[in-house]
């Protein structure tokens, strides 16, 4: 029930915000705050519940299930599950959702009701993506989160918002539809061989595919996720969308939306098509390296603060791709760590960029300079976030990158070495932010105000988490360990007949001998 509540709180909160704003002006933000706080605390209680459970007693990490028939004609269920991996993502969603609401507090001044509706619904969609274990439901959430995000960008974004919103929507929609096609292909192949037509994750995972089939179907899924991630050369929606979105939108885009891509690959592509995905590992990793370097290069060249940060995301997500396709437990741990760390650090960096934009009215970093003297708190925040972005040890991003690359090194050293060059590049572009924004002489005629106490609190919490997880990533790594082990076992033993643990989750017989 708590799983449904996670989603429905946000959905209902959004509706309430919209309606209440009509009656009481200024109430929407409070509704938003309450809803996101509630979601956060629900996620927190889930976390507490999870830590109370002996990991060995739950099958492959799934510790809570919610199932209701929905469209039985197609074997579609309203089927939510949460395991360690999902839990981490849910926590991240809850937290960044709260950050997004708080940061909108003083920045969004018009049409607040509709704004919070969209904000909360986007979060609900993302939450659903991380919880859905019915592939139809997953696709539904996947698509649904786009619409409110589209509104967020196209109404509250900056100058070029319309173009950015189109691009964002169309790019992701193409991927989504391809995924739908592949998804249905899988559904029918599974149905025709077993006689059970179902969108259940645990049913579909057992589908027996020929090499060719799995290759084609994998591409359908993969393209959708790679667009979201994004991988070179499918990344072009990202700088525009991140750049033009309102601050909260950028936070959600960078912090959560990109993560759904990585999550999707880990959750679906890898276990569904273990052989096919391994067969494209090398090209994928090369693309990842290209993404790291290309993103870094473009980040260095940007003069628009938000576009700059956006391109750093392209670069950082390159590590994620490499890590995933290294097919190594350590690397995958690193990937998940990276998802969390990047979500926090880049999210906060966008918060900062948004605040700067709000105060100065420009995003051109050439027009900043010497801000350290006027806004020291912002300077410190900027410094730490920039350091996180360049992977300074002691911050969560370093742990993530280290685990990813160390894991990758064990399988494909050459890729890890090439990716490590990205660490130098990260230093180059990250320090450029410091140099242009905070160093030098303050030339602006008007002094801007430093972080307000709420902004300070928001960023300080992020910074605290980054440092805490940088020095003790155990809470994350331990939580996802069962999921990761289960995923890696899919890859290491492609013999699909031998999975007994599934029967515990899946009531339907899984004993029909395959292979």
């Amino acid at each position: 029930m708590i799983l449904v509540a996670l989603i429905s709180t946000l959905v209902l909160g959004g509706l309430l915000a919209m309606l209440l704003e009509k009656w009481v002006t200024g109430s929407a933000k409070w509704v938003g705050l309450v809803a996101s706080l509630l979601t956060m605390s629900l996620a927190g209680s889930l976390w507490i519940q999870y830590t109370g459970i002996d990991a060995s007693t739950v099958s492959n990490g799934v510790f809570m299930v919610f199932k209701k028939p929905w469209i039985p004609e197609f074997g579609i269920e309203f089927h939510l599950e949460v395991d360690g991996l999902g839990l981490v993502m849910v926590m991240l969603t809850g937290f960044l959702g709260l950050v997004a609401v708080l940061i909108s507090w003083s920045q969004v001044k018009h049409k607040e009701g509709f704004y919070y509706l969209n904000l909360l619904w986007t979060l609900a969609g993302i939450m659903g993506v991380f919880l859905a274990f019915d592939l139809f439901l997953f696709y539904l959430f996947w698509e649904v989160m786009l619409v409110p995000m589209y509104f967020l960008i196209s109404i509250w974004g900056s100058a070029n918002r319309i173009y950015a919103a189109y691009k964002f929507f169309i790019y992701t929609q193409i991927g989504g539809l391809l995924m739908l096609v592949a998804l249905l292909g899988l559904y029918f192949l599974n149905g025709s061989s077993t006689g059970v037509y179902s969108f259940n994750y645990w049913d579909l995972i057992k589908t027996v595919l020929t090499t060719e089939q799995s290759m084609w179907l994998m591409w359908g899924f993969l393209i959708a996720f790679l667009i979201k991630l994004p991988v070179l050369p499918l990344h072009n929606w990202l700088p525009d969308a991140h750049g033009e979105a309102p601050t909260a939108g950028s936070v959600i885009l960078a912090g959560l939306l990109l993560k759904t891509g990585a999550y999707g690959i880990l959750r679906f592509v890898v276990p569904f098509f273990p052989d096919a995905s391994q067969s494209i590992a090398m090209p994928a990793m090369i693309l990842g390296v290209c993404g790291i370097l290309y993103g870094a290069k473009l980040a260095f060249a940007q003069t628009d603060m938000k576009r700059l940060v956006a391109y750093t995301s392209v670069s950082h997500m390159g590590f994620v791709i490499i890590g995933i396709f290294a097919f190594n437990q350590l690397a995958w741990q690193g990937v998940i760590m990276q998802l969390v760390a990047h979500g926090l650090s880049t999210g906060a960096l966008f918060v900062l960029a948004g605040i700067l934009y709000q105060r100065t009215g420009t995003r051109d970093i050439r027009k900043y300079g010497g801000l350290w003297a006027t806004v020291p708190r912002m300077g410190v925040a900027g410094l730490i976030l920039v350091l996180a972005s360049l992977g300074l040890p002691g911050l969560a991003n370093f742990v993530a990158e280290f685990m990813t690359l160390a894991g990758t090194f064990t399988t494909t050293p050459i890729i890890a070495i090439a990716a490590a060059i990205g660490l130098i590049a990260a230093a180059v572009y990250s320090l450029r932010i410091m140099q242009k924004v905070f160093y030098g002489q303050d030339t602006a005629s008007e002094k801007i105000s430093d972080l307000s106490s709420m902004e300070t609190l928001t960023i300080a919490t992020v910074v605290f988490l980054l440092i805490y997880l940088g020095l003790n990533p155990g809470p994350i790594t331990r939580t996802v360990e069962p999921s990761i082990k289960q995923l890696i076992s899919q890859v290491e033993t492609p013999d699909k007949g031998g999975f007994s643990y599934r029967t515990q989750v899946n009531n339907k017989s899984s004993s029909n001998g395959k292979h």
Binding site: P72, V144, A165, V181, L184
Partner: protein, 475 residues
Amino acid sequence: MENIDFNLLSPLILLAVAPVATLMVIAIYRNHTVTFCLAVILLVLFLIDCFRLWSLSFDNQMVDDLLMIDKFGLFFMILIAIGGILILFISYSYLNNNVKVAEEFYVLFLTALVGAVVLVSSIHFATLFLGLEILSISLYAMIAYTREWKNSIEGGLKYLILAAGSSAFLLFGMGLIYLQTGALDFEAIGSSLEKVNLISTAGLAMMLVGIGFKLGLVPFHIWTPDIYQGAPAPVTALIASVSKGSMVVVLVRFLHTTNSQQFAWIIWTFSAMAIASMLIGSLLALKQSNLKRLLAYSSIAHLGYLLVAIIAGSDFSVEAVTYYLVAYFISIIGAFGILSIFNSTGEIEQVSDLQGMFWTRPWLSVIFGVMFFSLVGIPLTAGFIGKFYVVMAAVNSGLWALAITLVVSSAIGLYYYLRVIKTMLTPVAKDAPKSALGQLSTMGLVVMSILGLLVIWFGVFPSQLIAVIRSIEVL
């Protein structure tokens, strides 16, 4: 004839009586409201009768090789009736505002529905052609009904000439097939068609031209924008939904009964038409600034999607077509409805007319947005389940190329649908002149709300509708 036939034919008879009755009432007492109420009541009666038949458990019954009364047909009769009622509601205020003499519209309208109902139960060339012509001829007049408008007259005339031409093709095709098989009913044709023959092939091809024209498939789509634009919005809604829908039904029936899908060339031709329709339709709409033309182009693409499901030819195929049609009916009637429910002379035509509507009329805009999202196929709307069904049918039959084309077309389509939504969201500049939208009719708003809720309902809980559709068998 036996009694049972009257029982089965009662809806048809009822509907056929309806225009006559309406005409008589007009002759006695000419009043718009009265006529409107009468038409609605008659349609409701028809609907009730259809439901009555539906609830009877009966075997599918043929009436003299001419008509087939089965659940498949009944389902679409019900759909046509509901669609008809909704369009009538939209029409009422529209006619009040735009024409001086509105009463005969209802006569034509009901006549058109008779044609459509005959079409959906047709299993014979004679009824096919008869239904088609009843439908078309009523439409000619209805398109030109707002005769003060130049576009309207032009549209009516164009439709008349072009449709006549296409009917000629259809008729000639039927003739050729008759020449070859000596039969006019689908089943007999089907059994004799097994031998491939130049004449019957040519006959089928000729028929395809006629059907393609009615459905507005590329390359026979060329009429759609002008007619859609010229016709009064409620009539456009009728063309887009009932007229095209009933043609789809008869096509499905024909293909299914004659088993024409055994011919590779039919599949190839249909596939080519579908691909061309999906792509060209979307591309044509890309920069269109006239809403009605935009919807016309989008309907080309939508019929392309439907054709994909028809080509699939599996069990899913008919289900998919049916569901898609339901979703499409609701969405397109809703979309055209919004264009016509304002209490002002003329109608919303340009996309730019909608600018800022979201902030001035949020509820209506939300409905409009829902309709458009349904047309795009965004989840939680009926259109999504429809599209899902179509992709399902395509994938199930391994029609990968068509499925991918559908994806591409949808992506292009997204652009122009979003453009409309974006326009609604763009606030009007403060010093701009006030929007000429005028007042809203309450009835229109209620109808729109119902449609909006239906779209959401069928999108979120499609299960019941699917169950109903599954219970249908095509014969």
